[in-house]
Amino acid sequence: MLYIVLIPLLLSCIIPFISKIKHKLHTGLFVFLIPTVIFIYFIRFVGTEFEPVRQSYNWIPSLGINFDFYLDGLSLLFALLISGIGALVVLYSIYYLDKGERLGHFYVYLLMFMSAMLGVVLSDNIFVLYTFWELTSISSFLLIGYWHFKEKSRYGALKSMLITIFGGLSMFGGFILLSVMTGTTSIQVMIQNAEVIMNSPYMPLALGFMLIGAFTKSAQFPFHIWLPDAMEAPTPVSAYLHSATMVKAGLFLVARFSPIFADYEWFFIIVSVAGIVTLCWGSYMAVHQTDLKAILAFSTISQLGMIMAMLGFGTEAAAFAAVFHILCHATFKGSLFMVAGIVDHETGTRDIRKLGGLMTFMPMSAALALFGTFSMAGIPLPFLNGFYSKEMFFQSTLDLPAGANVVATFLVDIIPYLAVFGSIFTFVYSLYFLFGTFAGKKQVDQLPKHPHEAPIGMLLSPFILVLGVILIGLFPNAFNGTFIAHAAEAVAGSAVVENIKFWHGLSPAFQMSLAVVAIGTILVSTRRKWSKVYTFVPGGRSINNIYDAIISKLDSWSRRITTFYMTGSLRLYMAIILSTIMLVTLSFMLVTDGFTINSNDLAPVRLTEIAVVLVIIAAAIGTIFARQNLAAILIVGVVGYGVSLLFVIYRAPDLALTQLVVETVSVALFLLCFYHLPNLRNKKDSTGTRLTNGIVSIGFGTLMTLIGISAHSSDWFGTISDYFLKTSHSLGGGDNVVNVILVDMRGLDTLFEITVLGIAALAIYSLIKIKIKKGTK
């Protein structure tokens, strides 16, 4: 199975070479073989006696990250959708995309996506799943931005990228929590140990993180906003990614993990509320759109919401209905996208206000759209699969088990009404799509191209999908036992036996369907009269505006923060660094109770020391207040000589000698340099700056003094200097212990110190000698 998953990715490497000969042969013809082979591979598994297949390939065994593939009913359903619709989409794209396009890019991205998507649905290992999940986000980003010269494409690609990657990372967090809780990386093992997860205190966190991932990917409210903008992608991409496969990855994730969480009350509440709100909002907004693909995008959002809601219900019937609707939705939505693409391709516009009366020009497309939209609307006809799944949806809303808490009880009561509300608008936009495009007045003069029927190759893919709609509609039970029941079993966790029947008698669900059709028909015919409602809800407040505001505010706020402290002033940075050191050190010392003052082992103070220190203090203060550069340097010299006097007093002759000479040399160098510089000290600082600088420096000095005193007061370990004193002569052969330490005991330090000196000298030499003249580079 590893090869089946990776075949598209591997073969995408040779696409660029094949696309070189695209003028003779459309690249898509070659690509078409790949999903077809995969489809044939997977179709073999379909059957009543299907048993889950497990295969494992090592990747990073030490981290428990391996290519573990698990093919059960749910994965099989998705794998067939991915490869089947993938093949049809490639076939469609052969006619849709001109040979002049960059076909190599297109098919590489598409195959990359196909691999990623197969990996997502087949992986049993959560981290491998996550890897493929992100690959779908990336390839989807590339596909949406395929026409990268269009501003809107880039905007849409970026938006979908930000939102889905946000969700993906959140999901990753959830996965890590899950693997920490259970100690395994396999989803199936987690399902077997569901009670470990359910009893863990981190379970709500893991669930929340994972649901964010699922909701962003599946365009659930309020993360649905990327999907309408993703319609800037070429239509085959919209049909494939944004109706049939990628957006269902989130559904897949929820379905996959629902055996673990199904009994958890909040799982029901969150998922069903998200789903049902998305259903209503998406279908309500779809009627407001004027772009064919935008209608379909919102329709996808709403249908995904419906499936999500069913997954949230958690009953066996709902799980079955959800799985069934995944299949139904993929067939009719794929065909509708392709029809929209055909209309766009043959008339030059997708604006529904300019379209109309295309039935006579494009009878085939019109017929295909008729089946697709009627199925989507759930019109009660025995050859439309959409009706069956919608009926089951209504039934499952009515059969919800009584809720355990107030919220759940309230939800159980209200969900059927919301379901009907959403379905009414589904009906409205379906017919609006159909009649707005194909019926009504002919407006041929408004169209950029003269409309005519699409070539047969382009019609082939939607035709096959519509055939699927009808076949599933006519013989639903042929798909039931062999295929859908297995998938529902994987979701519900136990075997599901459902019968799909057209006629249930006058059940409440059928009455709901009739109500939808009746009210829907009235709303469609009076659409112009009530469409003003959209100026109040949503009005100007849309989630898009919030998204745009967040993006631009993030930008401007971070810029403001950066310009606030990144002023370019080194003095400010110095103040920040010192205050940070001060704050951190001070709080650490206070927390650990580190300040100790102990006067036990202090040496007596002599008069000479006091005198020298007083001179040093006076000179240090004098440096601060000196007006002239040269004066300041000379006074600093006093400090240096004072220090070397201290070395003399404390019996460090080597240090004293070195300090004397080094001080002399550095003062001389300072004088040499500053003699040529303008008098910087004349610059007046504001009182505030001076006050801050004063506080920071006094505080820092005090802190360091306190630390020094504390360090001396807490004498924890004995010194190692006794060893040096004892062994200096016997080991090093010298009586000058300092020198023996420098050249013998710790010679490596000295070696690198003289290296530092050498580098400094060479740096100074090159700074002075290598002058780049103005204007040269």
Partner: protein, 141 residues
């Protein structure tokens, strides 16, 4: 043109420079047993050279001491690293030093330590560094 008459400076320099040089070599050689060493010795030697430079100018200095001071830096570093590497020959760790007593004709019994060689490296490096810094800054126009 005003020409400074620095006869006293030059005369004293010609004396003091040698005293300084002698003292610096003393510091370098005595470092192992008395205050001093390669570092301070190198600084002291450069003090003598700087004094000569101040009294006589760079032209005279170049004639008297035709040395490229920048080359002293790698020379010193190589000596220092070389003493470290040499300990490998005897199967010892890097920078292992040893010492011994030898009888030298004129000086009699002498203690010689390999650490002294390392100190020579320090000496040359410090000398090269100081002089090249000071001269390159001073000669900059």
């Amino acid at each position: 043109m005003y020409k400074p008459n620095d006869l006293i400076l030059r005369t004293t320099t010609s004396l003091i420079a040698f005293i300084l040089l002698g003292f610096s070599i003393y510091l370098l050689l005595a470092g192992h047993n008395a205050p001093g060493g390669g570092f301070i010795g190198g600084l002291m030697t450069s003090a003598a050279i700087v004094l000569m430079y101040m009294a006589y100018g760079s032209a005279v200095l170049e004639k008297v001491l035709p040395i490229n001071y920048r080359l002293l830096i790698p020379t010193g570093l190589l000596i220092a690293v070389g003493t470290g590497l040499a300990s490998f020959i005897f199967g010892e760790a890097f920078l292992s030093h040893t010492y011994g007593y030898f009888h030298v004709p004129v000086f009699g019994e002498l203690e010689l330590a390999t650490a002294m060689l390392f100190d020579f490296g320090v000496y040359f490096t410090v000398l090269g560094v100081t002089i090249s810094i000071i001269l390159s800054i001073a000669n900059d126009h």
